[in-house]
Symmetry: C2
Subunit: 375 residues, 2 copies
């Protein structure tokens, strides 16, 4: 009985109607506290199959996290399946039932009878309150294995995880947080990064990894030991990547660009884009919330469309040109205003929304480099 | 030995670094041909665990589709694991090796020695050529069970699935295509749809389901029998939903709106949005490619930003107001131009990007209703 595993319940996952983002969320959370998932699975709404999988998982793993199947309808069977696996009986919990009635009362609606199923509990389960939905979770600690049941609605699962499950895990298991540092670069390829950083990569501890993302290359160093051992390789990586490095950890490319613009006394920014479907405006709108600089707005134009962008200190223009080859497009990026006139032509790899986002990040990187006076 | 299952290979899936979209793709494809997944799992790059899972899956299912672990590096172990599970030996396939050398030659690069691993094959595997990457897939038909290995890169997996695996499946299994029709509505809730359609839902065949999506409610009817049995319930659902129904099947809400606008002689459209981060411009840009009406462009503005949208026959304005309650925002939508002045205030549920997209679809629905002369 060792390690952690996850089970996502719902026929919709196996019919391709829904992407299992709960798995990704839980996997990331568990890796961060040093209880990484060994495996995971998706199961349909079939009581016997769920019960068999739960029995097997509880025998193999010290932690089993289950998402989904806690709703009020007849095909929500996770409670019944876990009761089967534990050989325990479901019975109404008066406190849970009172909570449910209060909840519906506050919404000014009578509680449908079906919801009474959500007040059922087995003796060894402690309820995990759900502040934003009608399905309470369960925490079952028996036979040396903990099983956590959470609703499948992502917002509910995440909130209950953060507020209630994560703290309990820290009390129950020897969580060993993984310390991570990420060095971020743009305008350089994955293999070029690997070459330039060969001196700091490939150690046993800290472990390192290189990942290509829409906003550039992420180099990650991680350790379960002393976090100060991360400092030296991070510092060296920043030096070696030089102007291609735009920040570390939570410093996104837009935040990095905004910081350099602010240091230059630039207080507002506007954008024009052609052919990128609003990708630049979307990214800058998000960043505009986080940064202190004002994103005055963007104009998303057809090639022959008119209109004018909001006035601002700097205007960034991105024009994605018609595609030349499979997966490769040229784009033209220009800056005007407080930074003078700067222009660049770039090649954008990828397809679909990813290609548009990459082009937009290319424009934001030009902004960062121009404001920093770097080529 | 019955049914189908899927295995996704890669430690990154279990560390929360990547979402398993291959699973969703394969699940949808298999459901469409009547070989729906019974279960699926994600496994890390560990040869023994992979081999054990493959052995178990091949004993339980007539079709096992595996994505990932076919790369050239030391942690790509799917080939070895399947060889272990089959008790067969890997040996270089001269034809695969020649293909690989040709591929690298065409790129003007020498082939790294590591890539030779991708030319290995067991005797019972037939190679599945990869037209856009270096990893060939495998098709293994032995002991009454078919195992398909595909690379984890989504573009490669999808292309190889469509061009090569799907046709082979049709020859090997009794595929029974599922016939589906979808009736789409906006401006009405899930439970209200269920009530209004009670006469046509809940039959055994065609099976029906109701799904809430950003672009409204989708009501799906499906059958493995005679597709003409779908016609009557679809027609009846359209009648019962009346003006809330905007189309069926592949008719997206923007396409439906564009069709009504075109019928009214409106040839161009522009947008202004505040607080929705370019969601409206993004959706209309996409639709602008598909429809024949011109999307002149959109202005994505800060509340106090200036600028002007491109000139067009109709201007749609969406302003998302500051959030009032958790998960609920009010929005104001206005139309001006060829449709006269129309205004509406709506409530938008959800959080994050979903909330923004829902608000944008609300604006597009107002456009559709106004153009149709409906309230």
């Amino acid at each position: 009985v060792d390690g952690a595993e996850a089970i996502s319940v719902g026929s919709e996952l196996l019919l391709g109607e829904v992407v299992d983002t709960n798995l990704t969320y839980l996997a990331d959370e568990l890796a961060r506290v040093g209880l990484p998932l060994r495996r995971s699975r998706q199961l349909r709404d079939a009581r016997d199959e769920l019960a068999a999988a739960l029995r097997e998982a509880r025998a193999a793993s010290q932690l089993v996290v289950v998402g989904g199947g806690l709703g009020p309808t007849h095909d929500d069977l996770t409670r019944e399946a876990l009761a089967d696996a534990l050989h325990e009986r479901l019975a109404p919990d008066p406190a849970l039932e009172a909570d449910l009635r209060r909840r519906f009362g506050a919404l000014g609606r009578p509680m449908p009878a079906a919801n009474l199923r959500q007040a059922l509990r087995v003796p060894s389960a402690e309820a995990i309150p759900n502040p934003i939905g009608s399905a309470p979770g369960w925490w079952v600690d028996r036979d040396g294995s903990v099983t956590v049941l959470l609703p499948g609605v992502p917002a509910e699962l995440r909130r209950m995880w953060t507020e209630q499950v994560a703290p309990r895990l820290a009390g129950r298991f020897e969580t060993r947080p993984v310390h991570r540092r990420v060095v971020r670069a743009f305008g350089i390829g994955e293999s070029a990064v690997a070459e330039r950083l060969s001196a700091v990569l490939g150690m046993d501890d800290p472990v390192s990894g290189i990942y290509a993302r829409d906003d550039g290359i992420h180099v990650r160093f991680s350790t379960r030991g002393d976090p100060s051992t991360l400092e030296a390789p991070v510092r060296r990586a920043i030096e070696l990547l030089a102007r291609d490095c735009y920040g570390t950890d939570r410093t996104t490319l837009p935040l990095a660009a905004v910081a350099v613009l602010e240091a230059r006394g630039i207080r507002s920014l506007a954008s024009v884009e052609v052919g990128s479907g609003g990708a630049l405006a979307a990214i800058l709108s998000e960043a505009g919330v986080a940064g202190s600089m004002r994103y005055a707005g963007g104009l998303v134009r057809a090639p022959d469309g008119g209109g004018s962008p909001p006035p601002a200190d700097v205007l960034v223009t991105l024009a994605l040109l018609p595609e030349r080859h499979e997966g490769v497009s040229p784009a033209e990026i220009a800056l005007r205003g407080a930074l003078g006139e700067v222009q660049r032509r770039v090649t954008v790899f990828g397809s679909g929304p990813q290609r548009l986002r990459r082009a937009a990040f290319g424009a934001i990187d030009l902004l960062r480099r121009a404001a920093a006076g770097a080529p």
